[in-house]
């Protein structure tokens, strides 16, 4: 963490992510207005001391909405990253250490799943289960998990070529002990960087999926806010600025934090671009998800 602070990207990223966490924490204890309170007398108020970010068409305070929405953002980011980590590490490690035909079979399954757009997966899950932030988290988590699985498979394959893996075997270490003691600690830097980048993309994905209405009505979410405000955007263009800015800054924050983390662990990743290319793939993947999103 000390090393993250050394780079500008790490510093700015940590501040932005810290800001979102702070907003979520503050919203639990205090908000300027009741987030659900509709006040017809206060419709479409501009920025003022009473309403820092203005109000929407129902007279709801936008600053309050943004504060409360950060909870959903963090929840989806956290849960989807957790799901992605479990799926990605399990599938990736299994496919790399299994006998060749099992491993390559798994790798092909992973490739097929990567090709499946997260949006389609989310729609299927919402249809099968029910629209909620958990369903959205699950869809995003699975989408990222298979991307991570491919990265992990490559990283494990690289680690396996090292003599210390052979030496562990020569010391009588069982396969699972070797995975736990030697393989996972050596792929951890790459996985951590990857997950922080996923968190940024998860913010974007949640906003996009909420915007498309995949979370239930009334969910406090930046994507939902944008969807509501978008209908009057030609008349009240100023209202979309702050929720939009929140999405951008949160995404930027996680991405910069990921960059900072990468720079912090770089001495050990010298001369390899393993963390760079998968990020690109996942950006492309989400890009198609977002569709006409914010």
């Amino acid at each position: 963490m000390r090393h993250v602070w050394r780079s500008w990207s790490g510093r700015i990223g940590a501040v932005l992510v810290g800001g979102v966490v702070l907003a979520a924490l503050v919203s639990l204890a205090w908000t300027p207005y009741d987030p659900k309170k509709v006040d017809p007398g206060d419709r479409w108020q501009p920025i003022s001391w009473d309403h820092w970010f203005g109000t929407d068409g129902g007279g709801k305070d936008l600053f309050t909405q943004v504060l409360v929405g950060s909870r959903t953002t963090l929840l989806v980011a956290g849960v989807s990253v957790l799901i992605a980590a479990v799926i990605g590490i399990t599938l990736g490690v299994l496919s790399a250490i299994s006998p060749r035909w099992v491993g390559e079979g798994l790798a092909h399954v992973i490739d097929v799943l990567i090709a499946l757009p997260t949006l389609i997966l989310a729609l299927v899950l919402v249809a099968a289960l029910k629209g909620s932030v958990w369903t959205v988290s699950l869809a995003v988590g699975i989408g990222f998990g298979v991307v991570l699985a491919r990265v992990v498979r490559g990283e494990v394959a690289r680690v396996l070529t090292n003599d210390y893996i052979l030496a562990a075997g020569a010391s009588g270490s069982s396969t699972w002990r070797t995975v736990w003691r030697h393989i996972l600690p050596n792929i951890a830097p790459t996985v951590i960087v990857q997950l922080s980048l996923f968190a940024g993309l998860a913010v974007l994905a949640e906003a996009a999926l909420s915007y498309l209405g995949l979370t239930p009505v009334g969910t406090p979410s930046w994507g939902r806010m944008l969807e509501g405000l978008q209908q009057s955007v030609t008349v009240h263009p100023g209202a979309v600025v702050f929720p939009g800015l929140a999405v951008v800054l949160a995404t930027l924050g996680f991405n910069l934090l990921g960059d900072g983390l990468r720079e912090a662990v770089d001495p050990q990743l010298r001369g390899r671009s393993a963390t760079a290319s998968p990020t690109f793939t996942s950006v492309v993947n989400i890009g198609t998800d977002g569709g006409g999103g914010p």
Binding site: Y164, A167, A168, A170, G172, S173, S174, H182, P185
Partner: protein, 267 residues
Amino acid sequence: MTLLRVDQLTVEIGANRVVDDVSFAVDRGQRLGIIGESGSGKTLSALSIVGLEPDGTRVSGSVVFDGVELRGRSDRELAAIRGERIAMVFQNPLRALNPVMRIGRQISEPLRIHNGLSRADAAAAALEWCRKVALPDPERTVNAYPHQLSGGQRQRVGIAIALACGPALLIADEPTTALDVTVQADVLALLDALIAEQGTALVFITHDIALVSEVARSIVVMREGRIVEHGATDDLVRQPRHEYTAELVAAARRTSWGDTPSDEVPA
């Protein structure tokens, strides 16, 4: 008194016969040198003894260790022997150590696997081994990472890991090749002293006949996967029967042994 008997060991990778009909034996506490150029199948032979040959290789023949056939055993049964009864030291001491694990943990790892040592006992044993292999400042070294040590120090760690459980047989695969010449002698002397103390048998794999003649009493010469000559070190160096051995001896005379007369080879 035979500890290890390798009989007609053959290793094939695809259609390629990398090790061809190799047989040798090592008595309890004895030392055998296996010498040959790189690619002559020495390392694969050694790995096949403990069942660590890479995927996609076919191994046939027999490996009897302490009266028990090892080939065809399950991985679990072999894992119980590896590190406990048969241990290995590897060529490149940096690559053979986990870069993100502290030295003390790496040394005590075989003890924790085989003897079920508690964390505290394992830490104490690791510290003790750091002293035994003469690592500088043992209290600090146990908490260091491999990149903080020099090449010679890393190989001392490798030796400590291998000997931690007091194995009956140590297979050393080019243990000094990656080290500076001055450090080589120290590490070799340390290895020599420790296995003499523990009564450990040694299979010493190298391409350097001058080096192996200092360590081993008998030598197996391998070339292109086959054994071309096998005998006591003194005889083999004095009167090589195979022309390849003669070449190796002649080369060693020109370089390592300087201009010593042909019948007075330092042992």
